[in-house]
Subunit: 171 residues, 2 copies
């Protein structure tokens, strides 16, 4: 599958089958995140792969109107390590959300190639998510995504026309 094809076909999937995910598929998805670029190659991230059904339910409850996510067999919780950046980057210490976002999107595109569904979730109670998973105080949670086989084929949502978002040489 080409990059642009995967990008065109990706949807935010909100209905999942409960079928388990083969280990080698999960590995390729995680590997695609591991290899992401990051500022100064600091890799300020950690990913929690949540398979336990009770924990997944709690995570869904800690999210805002995203209860559907509990049905997917895995929830990936993407954490950022700000201290890592503070120590090495000075004024660029705020780069960790960008770095973590890149790694998550790599996983989401690889999941698409594997025929799996995902859904970027940014609306959740961070303190609650941290408590559920034992995330240390100095670590941030940037996003969650369910991961599983889709049980729906959502229509595409529109995008702004290219003329509206691109300009040449000046803003």
């Amino acid at each position: 599958m080409s990059i642009l094809e995967a990008i065109k076909n990706r949807r935010s999937v909100r209905r999942y089958k409960e079928d388990p995910i083969p280990d080698e598929v999960l590995y390729r998805i995680l590997e695609s995140g591991r290899l992401a670029p990051s500022g100064k190659n600091l890799q300020p991230w950690k990913f929690i792969v949540v398979k336990d059904a009770k924990l997944r339910e709690k995570l869904a409850e800690a999210s805002v109107r995203q209860y559907f996510m509990a049905k997917a067999p895995i929830t990936i919780v993407a954490c950022g390590l700000p201290d890592n950046c503070y120590a090495h980057m000075g004024r660029y210490m705020k780069s960790w959300p960008v770095d973590v976002a890149i790694a998550v999107e790599h996983m989401i595109l690889q999941a698409q190639e594997e025929g799996m569904g995902t859904c970027w979730i940014g609306a959740f109670d961070e303190a609650e998510v941290k408590e559920i998973l034992g995330v240390p105080e100095n670590i941030r949670v940037l996003a969650l995504t369910p991961l599983g086989y889709p049980d729906e084929e959502p229509a595409t949502r529109g995008r702004k026309p290219i003329e509206e978002i691109i300009s040449f040489d000046k803003y």
Copy 2:
């Protein structure tokens, strides 16, 4: 090219040929950014495609030790539209850097598929970049990347082993 293959092959390219980029290639790269997901589908981004050589030189000067970028025939400047998010997202108003980062990484992976090089640049004087390109006060600049045919084959930089960045069910 598969997603994981593109991810594995991507490098931060710091030496470029001056060969021009065919319009249809540039179009596919921009299109891959246009189709990126974003919080509430707000698409809080705008991309400036800088071809003018003098402007590219000025952008390189506004960047920190990244003078190499002026040689690539295009610099893409990725802007974020925070107001867009403030109006619609309340507490999630800070999502724009994540959204813009996803769109930029889409372009970077598509560029890889097209045989082109890129380099995430986050170290620049934002006020200076905004002045060079006439970017309005309420618009932010998240990142720049040169875009051109690579004139080097950089070695891979290491990554943390997967055990160090992945855990199961708990942090």
